[in-house]
């Protein structure tokens, strides 16, 4: 009785794959707004499950034992990777880029050994491109994950002539590929090509500093997508071509957004090593005075404001202050203060990371505003409260042509009526660039650990809120 069903499924396998592709595209379409986004995940899951089930009925399959082993191992690795903390999402994403690249590379390698030396020049070109990109994305993503997990040093690791060395290594991979294309019957060269590509991936990402990780992670995303699409060409599988093209274009769009947000070009990110410029920035160190304030004073200013724009940076997440910040947000809202969060595209360690961290702390997403909207609100705002952000608020990016971040779009906190900055000390930030915002007459520095300082503000505000409630009931 089951045999006819199997036959029917085989016959209509392609229909099932087309349906899966349509569900994938719908999935991304529904992700356009938070209201429909979860439907998007469901649609993707149904598409993937449909395609997976169809594949199990493929007539080419002769044994299932090792497939089952692979699926089981994937399940065992995959579930914990889906349950990581939200602060660890960037390194998890880099790891999943690595796994995606590994899968694509390994399948390409297997295709070569199954068919060599009977491979056409054209087929060999496809395999070589696919394997090179897959391998370099694999090791590159592992290095990126290591940097984000802080197993490897965050700062850029550079040496003289490094770009030439990297270029030479990449050329070696291409030359090996060309020899293999001309003579696919030289299988001993294939492992060399794989090895050189893996090595190039390491060289590609090691020199890139922590500040550029949002761009790198997006760029690797598009490489992984490209390798999957190329695998689709090798295996003549439309599902892979489409899924790879979607992943690739998503990574590409995000890379462009990240580059624009830092006013840097692709070449600059890949070969420029951000953070090297510190020496130039440090030369003028004139004594300037700053004004500081206590938590009590800060709370009083916030409570008296009509509108407050909070500018969070990764420092806020490092200090684990986001939950306290949300308490402050709740109290100010009950006091009738309009509070918004201005999110710079590179706040956090990957695109959109800051939004996830604040959403996790239960800040409603309609209070999270993009940089352009925030900048049109800030001139009317009573207070801009900067927590753990530095370079993204630096007015030197607009005014000082000599500044290494000149031209980078910033959140214009300096336009607010009063600026308050929570900061540990006057030490310059990650990129080592001094921030003139701190020396403005309207700026109050709130020195201390972000979590402790916000807790103090929350304590003072809750007293103020109680007082307000009492006077409201007393008046009745």
């Amino acid at each position: 009785m089951t045999a006819p069903i199997v036959l029917v499924i085989q016959q209509y396998a392609d229909f099932s794959y087309v349906a899966a592709i349509a569900l994938f595209i719908l999935s991304l379409k529904w992700l356009s707004s938070p209201a429909t986004a979860r439907r998007g995940v469901l649609s993707g899951e149904i598409g993937a499950a449909l395609a997976l089930v169809t594949t199990f009925f493929d007539p080419r399959l002769v044994q299932f034992r090792w497939i089952a082993v692979g699926l089981l191992v994937g399940l065992i690795i995959g579930i914990p990777l889906g349950l990581v903390k939200m602060t660890a999402v960037p390194q998890r994403t880099a790891m999943s880029h690595a796994f995606g690249a590994l899968a694509a590379a390994v399948i390409g390698i297997s295709e070569y050994y199954v068919h060599a030396p009977h491979i056409t020049k054209f087929g060999m070109t496809e395999i070589a491109m696919e394997v090179i990109i897959g391998c370099l994305s694999f090791t590159g993503s592992l290095i990126a994950a290591g940097k984000l997990q802080e197993v490897l040093p965050q700062r850029p690791i550079t040496y003289r002539g490094q770009n030439y060395v990297s270029l030479a290594i990449f050329s070696a991979a291409v030359i090996l590929a060309l020899i293999l294309i001309i003579n696919p019957g030289a299988p001993y060269l294939f492992p060399a090509m794989v090895g050189v590509s893996l090595f190039f991936g390491i060289l590609l990402v090691t020199p890139i500093g922590g500040a550029d990780m949002p761009t790198v992670i997006s760029l690797l995303n598009s490489y992984v997508g490209l390798s999957a699409a190329l695998l689709g060409f090798v295996l003549n599988s439309k599902v892979l071509v489409v899924a790879g093209a979607l992943d690739g274009s998503s990574g590409f769009i995000l890379s462009v957004i990240m580059c624009k947000a830092m006013n840097r070009s692709f070449t600059n990110v890949l070969f420029g090593a951000f953070g090297q410029v510190t020496a130039a920035a440090e030369q003028v160190k004139e004594e300037r005075t700053v004004r500081s304030a206590t938590a009590e004073e800060a709370a009083a200013i916030l409570a008296a404001a009509t509108s407050v724009v909070v500018v969070p940076g990764y420092g806020m997440a490092v200090a684990q202050a986001q939950h306290k910040v949300r308490e402050m947000f709740d109290l100010l809202t009950t006091l009738g203060v309009d509070v918004k969060f201005a999110i710079h595209p590179v706040a956090g360690r990957m695109p959109g990371h800051m939004n996830v961290l604040l959403a996790e702390a239960d800040v409603p997403y309609d209070k999270l505003v993009e940089m352009e909207d925030a900048n049109s609100d800030l001139p009317q705002a009573d207070v801009a409260l900067v927590i753990g952000a530095n370079d993204v608020t630096n007015p030197a990016a607009k005014t000082n042509q000599g500044s290494p971040i000149y031209g980078m779009p910033i959140i214009e906190a300096d336009k607010a009526h009063t600026v308050m900055v929570i900061k540990r000390s006057m030490n310059p930030g990650f990129a080592g660039i001094d921030n003139p915002l701190y020396y403005l007459d309207k700026t109050l520095m709130l020195f201390g650990d972000a979590k402790a300082f916000v807790s103090d503000i929350v304590r003072d505000l809750s007293e103020a809120a109680k007082g307000a409630k009492k006077s409201a009931t007393g008046g009745r």
């Binding site: 991304l28 692979g70 399940l75 349950l83 998890r92 994403t93 892979l240 899924a243 093209a245 997403y365």
Partner: protein, 98 residues
């Protein structure tokens, strides 16, 4: 040039443009879930891995295929799981928990 290549190229170019238009509209709020979701969708290479692993009894393709199945399937499971966890956290104001 094989015929299949041209067809695949059509598919690739069209899917690339379609992806660009659809993904361009994704709110920057959701760029992190976007990346984890596209990773999960990209894990559909597991289909190819399954075929490579199961179509023969030879050792090399079976082992390489099983590695690919594990790597891709972990991405699929983990990617969908974390995307949904993240999206569940995004709430509008006014709709307070409890």
């Amino acid at each position: 040039m094989p015929q299949g290549f041209i067809t695949n190229l059509y598919v690739f170019v069209l899917a690339g443009f379609l992806g660009f238009e659809v993904i361009r509209r994704v709110s920057p709020l959701l760029h992190t879930p976007l990346m984890s979701l596209t990773n999960a969708l990209d894990a559909i290479v597991v289909l190819a891995a399954i075929i490579i692993c199961g179509e023969t009894r030879e050792v090399l393709p079976t082992v390489l295929g099983a590695i690919a199945v594990a790597a891709a399937f972990s991405n699929m499971i983990g990617g969908f799981l974390i995307t949904d966890r993240m999206l569940r956290m995004f709430k509008l104001s006014g709709r307070k928990k409890q």
